[in-house]
């Protein structure tokens, strides 16, 4: 059914006395489509994202900028075609005012055009590919996360700061793995003794661990998301290599620590936020999150929490007139809210300009595992693609 036919049907329905659609169009509330991966092996990340958003809305008494908000939770199943179908329905049938969430870059790529072309705001709380940070930047696209290169570059800076001369790199053999290596190398100037690319369905890391032991590097850098990270961390610890610093991104975090436990203690990761942040707002967030959902919030949840605060600030500024796109956009760009991360603003490409931290895995007194900030590595860091963005 094409758009004209759809409009025709809607008009006919209106004349025949089907009032609900009309009533709904006039309802003053805000409707948000929250898109996240909630099934499959990566669902842990989607759950973090969704729970962070829902807690934020709860803290705001179910309102954004004083206007009641309705969240439609959409599961993309980590399938771009499924995401596209469901998001189209949210745009055309439910008439959402914004699409928020998005764990993975490939899902974002699938829904990006339909959402932005319908002049609906698209705010990601995790995915931040380079595609939309430079030339592809878009007035309707915002992110409260980071550009994907930045955490890897942060680790490169850490290796540089620590004076490591010889680094061993281990990543999965796909695009994100190669991006991780490029990001790391953008700030690390020492020698890379070896780079190993493993298949995404790698079973066992004992072979690679033996090679690391033989190469005797000053530290290793790795990016092994999900189950891969659990395998690697166990094999690394069991082989007695823990004395070689384990620098990683998205390998040891609140999503995988429940399975890694003691094996990950003392391992490093790069992040924009950690549950031990000292500001009162962050403390309240962590306390309420754990009480409500029973697990430790990670980066993902904090970024989604901030996404709700961002929308809240924009609605407040525009007095609830979501239809005035230019005003909403200007208000979003101001990002006039207090982030859980403290220092936070949006750059020209609508990607955050923020600080990046080195974090370490610890066991808290209550027996749960979490990351803890060691030190700030990058201050007011703008992603490397922002300069290419000519925002219309």
């Amino acid at each position: 059914m094409n758009r004209r036919a759809l409009l025709g049907t809607a008009a006919a329905a209106g004349f025949s006395g089907a009032m609900p659609s009309l009533v709904r169009a006039q309802a003053p509330g805000i409707k948000v489509g929250f898109l996240a991966t909630l099934s499959g092996p990566a669902a842990t990340l989607g759950n973090q994202l969704r729970d962070g958003w829902l807690l934020s809305v709860k803290h705001l008494d179910g309102k954004l900028g004083g206007v009641p908000v309705e969240t439609l939770v959409i599961d993309d199943e980590l399938k771009p075609d499924v995401a596209l179908t469901k998001v189209r329905a949210a745009l055309e049938r439910d008439k959402v005012d914004a699409v928020v969430g998005v764990v993975f870059s490939n899902i974002l790529q699938a829904v990006f055009r339909p959402v932005t072309e319908s002049q609906t705001f698209l705010i990601t709380a995790n995915a931040g590919p380079s595609t939309y940070a430079g030339r592809g930047c878009n007035p309707y696209f915002f992110t409260t996360a980071y550009q994907n290169d930045q955490p890897h570059a942060t680790m490169g800076q850490v290796a540089q700061d620590e004076g490591y001369k010889r680094i061993f790199i281990l990543v999965p053999n796909y695009q994100a793995g190669k991006d991780a290596v490029a990001g790391f190398k953008s700030r690390f100037k020492g020698e890379v003794v070896d780079e190993i690319y493993v298949p995404l369905n790698q079973l066992d890391f004992s072979t690679e661990v033996a090679k690391i032991a033989a190469a005797k590097p000053d530290a290793i850098f790795t990016f092994m998301p999900g189950g891969l990270g659990v395998n690697l961390v166990r094999a690394y610890r069991q082989a007695g290599l823990a004395s070689i610093p384990f620098l990683s991104t998205f390998t040891v975090d609140e999503a995988t620590l429940p399975a890694q436990q003691d094996a990950a203690l003392g391992f490093y990761t790069a992040a924009t936020w950690a549950p031990d942040f000292a500001n009162d707002q962050s403390k309240r967030f962590v306390k309420d999150f754990e009480a409500a959902y029973g697990y430790v919030p990670g980066n993902y949840a904090a970024q989604a929490y901030d996404a709700a605060l961002l929308v809240d600030s924009a609605v407040k500024k525009t007095g609830g007139r979501m239809s005035d796109k230019a005003a909403v956009r200007a208000a979003l760009e101001k990002a006039d809210f207090t982030s859980l991360r403290g220092n936070f603003r949006l750059g020209v490409n609508h990607y955050p300009v923020q600080d990046f931290y080195l974090c370490k895995v610890v066991k808290r007194p209550d027996g749960k595992y979490a990351t803890e900030t060691v030190r700030k590595v990058l201050t007011n860091d703008t992603d490397p693609h922002a300069a290419e963005c000519r925002m219309r």
């Binding site: 499959g40 493993v198 066992d204 690679e208 189950g227 395998n231």
Partner: protein
Amino acid sequence: MSVNLLLVQLLNGAQLGILLFLVAAGLTLVFGVMDFINLAHGVQYMLGAYVAASLGVWANSFWLGLLLALPVSLLIGLVLEWLVFRHLYGRDHLSQVLATFGVILTVDDAVRAIWGSAPLPVPQPEGFTGGVEIMPGLTYPTFRLAIIVVGLLVALLLWLLVDRTKAGMLVRAGASNAPMVSALGVDIGKLFTLVFGFGAMLAGFAGALAGPVFAVTPGMGDAVLILAFVVIVIGGIGSIRGAFIAAVLVGLIDTLGRAMLPDLLRLVMDASSARQTGAALASMLVYIVMAAILFFSPAGLFPVRRG
């Protein structure tokens, strides 16, 4: 590459091979004796890991969890056989593939619903948490050595069972000519159920052993299942001896390929393309070897004679 490192990699290969053997043994029996393609065999491996991990946490002992996982795996295998597989023996292979694939999807989602999609914490095996320093700076976990020893024992036990007992004789006879065994008055249905339950238990055992080493996640059986099929095709369908030799072969080829190919290729091309090509080639290596073996010996290395 030093001699020490080579030794470590050989051990790694052997250990992967042994684990594959435990999965492949049940698969090859079911395929060989019953002429039944069971894609859901990897599911048994996954369930074994989940059951052992949960019971291990509950009993606060890995070994108790492992022990309890055996009867539970057997039970799950028998229930699945009774519910689904029994009705498929007479059908063609395509129906079997479709139905057992459906079982994979159903059980994977059931596991997600029960245990969640995050990797499961697994208790570390008491008494085997240490390691032996084989190479300077590298400890080889004693638990991995234990897997090799246990796997070899199971292989020996299986050989005795299949080669030296009456039940084993019937299984071998069933693999050669099932209708003839049936005609001689043996309850072939009962034999099938027995073989199936036993195969499921072996896969569950492998999963339980893999728990502390690998990540226990939904769908963890899929990667293992594909390799297990490679193993039984190389070894000859229905042959335990073939499965053992092929499993160790596949384990060694996979491990040594990953360990050495990128370095070998560096002799003929520049470093970065050697890494990429090496990684790609290493992950294809077992399939290339399988194709080569099938070219020269289409029924595998140790084909079972069919009457």
